[in-house]
Amino acid sequence: MAREIMYRDALREAIDEEMERDSTVFIIGEGIAERGGSYKVTEGLLSKYGPKRVRDTPIAEAGMIGVGVGAAIAGARPIVEILYIDFAMLGMDMIVNQAAKFRLMTGGDGRVPFVMRTQGGTGGGVAAQHSQSLEALFYHIPGLKVVMPSTPADAKGLLKYALRQPDPVMFLEHKHLYMTKGLVPDGEHVIEFGKGDIKRPGKDVTLIAWSNMIPRTLEAAERLAAEGIDAEVIDPRTLVPLDKDMILGSVAKTNRAVIVQEAVRRGGVASDIASIIQEEAFYQLDAPIEIVAGLNIPIPFNLELEKASVPQVDDIVLAVRRTLHSKPLAQAAE
């Protein structure tokens, strides 16, 4: 059985259940205890688990992340909530040079079961320093797991898994998703990393997206369906590890791929996925892989410009049409 709940509630359930299960799980962040967090994810946890395991912090992102990493090394299971992914930049040393490398530097003995929860993406006029999609920065650092759930069920299952595995996890939520609803299975619900999910099966073109681009891509797919185009929508759910098999399997079937990311085009994760597909499925592609992505610009305050800066449903539809109108290679080569 399943219940329809909000993304933020699904996250809370995951934290709650894991705190119940494992007494070393704790959470720190700005305004997460008494106030229950800016997105209400941590509401009620303070009264249930007390001030030792649910703590407000000063505005000290480097310190918070660093302390979380240290606690993880020493055998606890910290969740550090960073209000905006933009602010994680203040703690990059602790993420890149400590959390990600500790295992290697200790020859494998040291593990860092650290979870950083944060949120990114555009959100209606919060401007350049509160709107970024920065998953590519973590994606490039070996040793970090990168998780970007798009639904309440994925959010819950992946966060529970994150709190049971031994490596540092960048758990990246999206500010637009917190109040979206979805079915979440009752009972124990854990989703392993590295397993993508086909959010919509199809046969004509493979659409790859994650986080808040999933609802948009699904909407685009519905519009395309009305035109007779049957798109498959794949959500890798975890970018590291990446479910290459699922992506390559789909492309083998459709021969065309469009990757949709909210992050800026230059140097984004979409580029990397494209590089993998062209490398491993070169002879199966009938058209260039299209990337629909954010413009190479910080996000402007003005709402129209903000919209113009990140992929909209129209952009996805157009890209798919372009892909399908490309002549197949066999013809082109003639």
Partner: protein, 328 residues
């Protein structure tokens, strides 16, 4: 923005009127701005400076043209005290092309870079290194400009506080760090964030002359600041000023601020910085009610005009935007 020559004791009408005008202008801007926000004309974040007006008012009155300021996420007050054009401020909040940032920045990034205002900042604590950098640039250029960073209690627990104030100190920069201690970071009380709520001690610990002042007393702030500015121009900077204050409402427009104890709030409202600036004008220089009202009406009118102006302004077009993107 012109620095005042005279010292304490007998403040001039000119000075007191300037202080009141600034404080009142901020008060109107914030109260009326909140209404625009509630009407849906402003989006994103809006952190009102209500209750803290005394600080920006007193600090900026002691500065002069050529000086620099860097601000916080709660930056409207600094901008106004610095002498910004209210028209262009409202236009920015309404995301119009006539705004200070052409609608690209909004409340959290409002700046007037051409006049030496490095702007508000969405990253708590970031104004400190930026301000120290401006002071460094001025030292290298060999001018006598003073740079002020408006900072916060919250930012005082952030690494940038220590790192950049220490750099300002070892380089003897003409720099004043104004710590607006409003005793909250969103809903977190300062007592939860640190064991010692007297933040000026952190300056002392690294050899920086540091003071504490009642931030709701714009005249006291002004005098302390004037002294700091003089010292800086003599090469005796940097200086830290901790100004104690309290917000009149929640953290941002949509925060009811229920966590703020009623009695503490009442205590600070009794010591309202705008009232005090007004009272000084009445009690020390003898302005009458009509004169006060004339000033207030003038300022209210200025704001109304700014709203008109902003509503009539256009937004950046997609074509202009695309050009900007190409060049970025």
């Amino acid at each position: 923005m012109a620095a005042q020559a005279q010292k304490a004791n007998a403040p001039s009408r000119e000075l007191l009127e300037k202080l009141f005008r600034t404080a009142y202008k901020i008060r109107v801007f914030e109260s009326e701005g909140i209404k625009l926000y509630r009407q849906g004309l402003i989006r994103g974040y809006f952190h009102p400076y209500l209750g803290q007006e005394g600080i920006a008012t007193g600090v900026c009155a002691a500065l002069q043209e050529g000086d620099f300021i860097a601000s916080t996420h709660r930056g409207h007050g600094h901008c106004i005290a610095w002498g910004a054009d209210v028209k262009r401020m409202v236009a920015e909040l309404l995301q119009k092309e006539t705004g200070y940032c052409r609608g690209y920045g909004g409340s959290m990034h409002i700046a007037d870079i051409r006049a030496g205002n490095l702007g508000a900042n969405g990253i708590v604590g970031a104004g400190t290194p930026l301000g120290v950098g401006a002071a460094l640039a001025n030292q290298i250029k060999g001018n006598d400009a003073v740079t002020v960073t408006f900072s916060t209690d919250g930012a005082s627990n952030n690494g940038t506080f220590l790192e950049s104030l220490n750099l300002a100190a070892i380089w003897n920069l003409s720099y004043v760090l104004v710590v607006e201690n409003n005793q909250y970071a969103v809903s977190t009380r300062i007592e939860e964030s640190t064991r010692d709520v007297d933040l000026y001690k952190r300056g002392l610990a690294i050899g920086v002359e540091s003071h504490q002042v009642d931030g709701n007393d714009s005249l006291a702030v002004y005098h302390l600041m004037q002294d700091a500015v003089e010292k800086c121009r003599r090469g005796e900077g940097p200086i830290l000023i901790e100004a104690k204050t309290y917000r009149h409402m929640g953290h941002h427009v949509n925060d009811p601020g229920k966590y703020m104890p009623a009695d503490t709030l009442a205590y600070y409202k009794e010591r309202d910085p705008v009232d005090r600036a007004r009272n000084a004008l009445v009690e020390i220089v003898g302005l009458d009610q009509a004169e006060i009202e004339a000033i207030e009406n003038e300022i209210k009118q200025e704001f109304e005009d700014a709203v008109e102006f902003s509503k009539a302004s256009r937004e950046i077009t997609l074509a202009e935007f695309n050009e900007f993107v190409e060049a970025y």
